[in-house]
């Protein structure tokens, strides 16, 4: 459903992505791993249109979205939860959720549905998002991405700054959504172990290039690879 072909992106004077080709199917989780600066965040930002690639294509459901505008890409059903959660702190929880559905009011999920998935959020619905804990913010950011009933979900380091127990919760939720909603999920993570535990495929980036694209079992089994690129 989501295909990247020879994607090449510059970040200032640095070439952040070089010839990246990945394909993500509906109902599956693809983990994107690698050290800091490997180009993982740039990858997601290129897909969602925040950054224009220098070469290569991104296609979504058969449509070329390489040069489309961010708002249009999002309206087609691709949701991106950026680094740092991407909640708007000055707005309340409920306003953040409502915002996610404004461009598609007919089919969007009502906040009530999200609260059913994340009861903790309902307790805080009228509080500004800055008051939420890290874990709650992550839930909110995923929740508001789901409001628009997307078909693909890009997640940038959802485990960042969260306690291991919460990370496990979030990861299992992500896998659950992929399975039950048929989402194509591209999950960028530094925490390779937890990402691979829910992924169907693992892609490793190093200095902007894809150096491995295999099943989680094969990746975890390859000691040299693990050491070199994943740090464990």
């Amino acid at each position: 459903m989501l295909r990247l072909d020879g994607l090449t992106t510059d970040y200032g004077a640095v070439r952040a992505l070089v010839g990246v080709s990945i394909s993500v199917e509906p109902g599956s989780v693809t983990a994107v791993l690698g050290a800091n600066g490997a180009g993982k965040t740039t990858l997601l930002r290129t897909i969602s249109g925040l950054v224009r690639p220098a070469a290569g294509t991104v296609s979504f459901e058969g449509l070329d979205i390489t040069r489309a505008r961010v708002e249009d890409i999002v309206r087609r059903g691709l949701a991106h939860v950026p680094e740092g959660r991407g909640v708007i702190g000055e707005l309340t929880v409920e306003e953040n959720l409502r915002l996610g559905g404004l461009h598609n009011r007919a089919t969007a999920a009502k906040p009530a549905e999200i609260y059913a998935m994340f009861p903790r959020l309902e307790d805080r619905r009228t509080q500004p998002a800055t008051r939420l804990s890290g874990g709650e913010r992550q839930m909110l950011s995923i929740g508001r991405a789901l409001v628009a009933r997307p078909k693909a979900l890009l997640l940038d380091e959802p485990s960042l700054g969260l306690a291991p127990r919460i990370v496990a919760q979030i990861m299992s939720l992500i896998r659950h959504f992929a399975d039950s909603l048929g989402l194509a999920v591209l999950l960028v993570e530094q925490n390779a172990a937890s990402a691979l535990s829910i992924a169907h495929r693992g892609v490793v980036l190093n200095l902007g290039r894809v150096v491995a694209d295999q099943s989680p079992e094969r990746l975890l089994g390859d000691e040299q690879l693990r050491h070199h690129y994943l740090g464990f």
Partner: protein
């Protein structure tokens, strides 16, 4: 000879006008993080247009409407054509563009209408009320000014807080990237923000024109006062802008009454410098520390 009550009342009136200008500046700052130094010139232009319409149709209401409409249009046009290209550029770039716009508009007005000040009709009588035998220097027109500004501020507040458009405007202002990722047409929101701000400024122009007279540079002082009021209240805070404007209006009125009108612009400058030195985030700060 200057009556304290009269000065207070006139301070309230000028405070209302400053509030409208300050609100315009705050709207634009919140949306696009730019201080619109051309605000005074923009509202000068819309007031000239209103004056021309009033003269040709003989109706104040139609002229007022013309000011509002031209404000919306001008704000949208300026954002789309001049500001959009520099929204992500260093701060100074937008400052210089705004100043360039200011210069163009002032020169344009001078070319079309000349520098001779013109009269602008007030909406209502400017003869002060007689309350219980005393004559106060507060007139029906001043009541009109205060009510209109309160109405505009109220409408804007309702718009932002309770409508979907308002939610999108706020989202685009607080975090345009995340708003984009939520499908908000951020560019369109910026244009709307500027249009609303220019509308608010246009109102200020029409309200204050009867007392300052219509000439290209005559709106500069209220632009400065609106800016000082916005900084005083906190550039991110619309209620702050109103409070700051009221305080400033009263303060400048007293200065003008007791120390002479020539010192009023200097007094505004002093207030600005004091605020920026002592409490730069203003009375109602909302922004966070600069992250290193």
């Amino acid at each position: 000879m200057t009556n304290f009550i009269d000065l207070t009342l006139s301070g309230v009136t000028s405070g209302a006008v400053y509030a409208a200008v300050a609100l315009a500046l705050v709207l634009i700052w919140r949306a696009t993080r730019i201080i619109n130094f051309a605000q005074g010139a923009m509202l000068m232009l819309t007031t000239y247009i209103a004056s021309a319409v009033i003269t040709s149709t003989g109706s104040y209401v139609i002229g007022f409407g013309a000011a509002l409409a031209s404000g919306l249009l001008l704000g949208a046009l300026v954002e789309r054509v001049l500001i959009r290209p520099v929204e992500n550029a260093p701060e100074l770039t937008a400052v210089i563009v705004a100043l360039g716009l200011y210069t163009v508009l002032i020169s344009l007005a001078g070319m079309v209408w000349g520098a001779t000040p013109r009269a602008f009709p007030p909406a209502f009588s400017i003869r002060g009320y007689d309350i219980g035998g005393t004559h106060v220097l507060f007139a029906p027109n001043d009541t009109f000014i205060v009510l209109v500004v309160v109405a505009i501020a109220g409408i804007l507040a309702l718009l932002f807080r309770f409508t979907s458009l308002g939610l999108q405007l706020r989202a685009a202002a607080f975090n345009s990237e995340v708003a984009q990722l939520l499908g908000v047409r951020v560019g369109r929101m910026f244009t709307v923000g500027w249009a609303l701000a220019a509308l608010t400024g246009a109102v200020a122009g029409v309200l204050v024109a009867p007392s300052v007279f219509l000439a290209p540079n005559n709106f500069d002082p209220i632009m400065i006062s609106g800016f000082v009021a916005a900084v005083l209240g906190g550039l991110d805070s619309p209620p702050g802008a109103v409070v700051g404007a009221m305080l400033l209006g009263l303060a400048l009125s007293y200065v003008g009454g007791y120390a002479g009108t020539a010192l009023v612009p200097i007094a505004a400058l002093v207030v600005l410098v004091v605020v920026l030195m002592v409490r730069p985030t203003g009375l109602f700060p909302t922004t966070s520390e600069r992250r290193v």
